[in-house]
């Protein structure tokens, strides 16, 4: 019996696009879980908006991965027919929403990185990636502004919001190291001017975080042990549940047009 999962030939370029697509889709999915349940209507709107941007980014990146692979995969096959071990997203983005503070700290850590990353990627020698970067950078800048404002409000709001924001930072910090790691395949893309080295952005990322945390009267943890594995499909237990929901229709009714 053939496998229900598709096989993907992960050349460095395909893998590169898949990793960013998975980041965007998984985070967009997480944010979409808030829709209808946020603390205020304005945040139902804002979180849905950010989710829509991210799902849009995911679609472009999946389509590009499919094109780069050159087989008969497409955005939906890549999103809906790969299992947890084939997903390549950061562990950070698959972490559950938790409370509003945890969602916003996760967003803040990611957007502070994505904003710098996509801006740098606008200079990519790969014109498709440069175009995706140009669009994503504009969106990420807004996502970062939105998250930063909330970090400040929560940190410098009430005792309860401060405690929740600090707890979220302490909890999610260990998932931030992975954003700056690259493997050999990606190193090749960096040398070729297709990708940028995320490690080169870490200093500025940390400055953004420190500035906002200080205004929010919050503390960043001292660098400790960092979790890794998402980029090679070694995920937390949370991702499988997310995928079982995300993929339920395609798994229940294989091969249909929707």
């Amino acid at each position: 019996m053939p496998s229900a999962n598709i096989q993907v030939s992960e050349t460095p370029l395909v893998l590169y696009a898949l990793r960013r697509a998975d980041d965007a889709l998984v985070l967009g999915h997480r944010l979409s879980e808030w829709c209808g349940h946020a603390p205020m209507l304005e945040e139902d709107m804002a979180l849905s908006n950010i989710a829509l941007d991210l799902i849009g980014q995911a679609r472009e990146l999946y389509s590009y991965a499919a094109k780069a692979e050159g087989k008969d995969n497409d955005e939906d096959k890549l999103a809906y027919l790969r299992d947890v071990r084939q997903y390549r997203n950061l562990l950070l983005v698959e972490q559950p929403n938790g409370d509003f503070a945890q969602t916003l700290v996760r967003q803040f850590f990611y957007s502070a990185f994505a904003d710098l990353y996509w801006r740098a990627m606008m200079a990519s020698r790969d014109t498709t990636l440069a175009a995706i970067a140009a669009k994503s950078e504009k969106e990420s800048a807004y996502h970062l502004r939105h998250a930063s404002e909330w970090i400040i409000r929560l940190g410098d709001g009430t005792d309860e919001s401060h405690a929740r924001a600090q707890a979220a930072i302490d909890h999610l910090w260990a998932f931030t190291g992975e954003m700056f790691e690259v493997d050999e395949g990606e190193r090749g893309l960096i040398h070729a001017g297709v990708a940028v080295d995320p490690a080169s952005l870490r200093g500025r990322w940390l400055t953004t975080l420190s500035d906002i945390a200080s205004e929010a009267t919050l503390e960043l943890p001292q660098n400790g042990w960092m979790q890794q594995g998402g980029r090679v499909g070694r995920h937390s237990e949370h991702l499988g549940h997310l995928l079982s929901e995300l993929q339920s229709m395609q798994r229940t009714f294989p091969g249909q047009t929707w």
Partner: protein, 330 residues
Amino acid sequence: MYTQALNTAETGDHGLEDAGKAAQFQARIDAEERIEPNDWMPAAYRKTLTRQISQHAHSEIVGMLPEGNWITRAPTLRRKAALLAKVQDECGHGLYLYAAAETLGTSREELVDAMLAGKAKYSSIFNYPTLTWADIGTIGWLVDGAAIMNQIPLCRCSYGPYARAMIRVCKEESFHQRQGYEIMLTLCRGSDEQKAMAQDALNRWWWPVLMMFGPPDATSQHSDTSTRWKIKRFSNDELRQKFVDATVPQAQYLGLTIPDPGMTQDADGHWRYSEIDWTEFKQVLAGNGPCNRDRMAARRKAHDEGAWVREAAAAYAAKRAQRQTAQAAE
């Protein structure tokens, strides 16, 4: 989304008010002028509109839940994005409508509190569950279709802020309706299993959607005042008939069967539907629909769990204002 069923007017206190002003007010309405927030208006007009607009707003917000139920399970990325954008639009309608209601002098917080306390109604249609993906298509096609039937005349409502809100809302709703119909068309052109899914959804939603237009004219109360004030321009049965006449050919095009074996077309081309089970309508209205408790519980949970966030935002805003005042004093 909105239901005609919520269209009931307050009556009674005109005697206490200035008869001259009331006559002038009615003359303006008769001349199709728009009433604006700062204009004089009878207390009952204000009360009727506050109730109607806020219940419309509550309906938009509660209406996010049945469709939101499928955002995380939409079958393709395109459908996922479209559904999320749609539910976000409903939220936008809710916000816009709360703002319109606030122009009549009641705050959004008070209006929301009344809903959460079970004192204000929202559209009963959202007390039905979304069981399959076809329900998302059916809601867009029929529920939004019924809402449009009701809201198009509201674009000419005598109260300016409500009428203007409706113009924008109608544009988005008609887009949603086409989107819903397109989901249905895709299902009906798909596998037997998909077509059965579409038929099953139509079977479950048809009668509740007809009930969205409210009780039959013979039993409907208060509509005279709403009509005189040009809040309501068509009766429940008129709008229901318009909806049925528009929808039957659409179902035929899809190859679906309206679950009403007694339906016939009369000599004038109108599709005459069978008797509606108003017992069910009353039960759902009384809180006994399949999802009444779940919907209220979900809204209360979001409100309660969000309290600390709203408090934090308010506390921060107060601190900031205080710092700015202190800085200015230096």
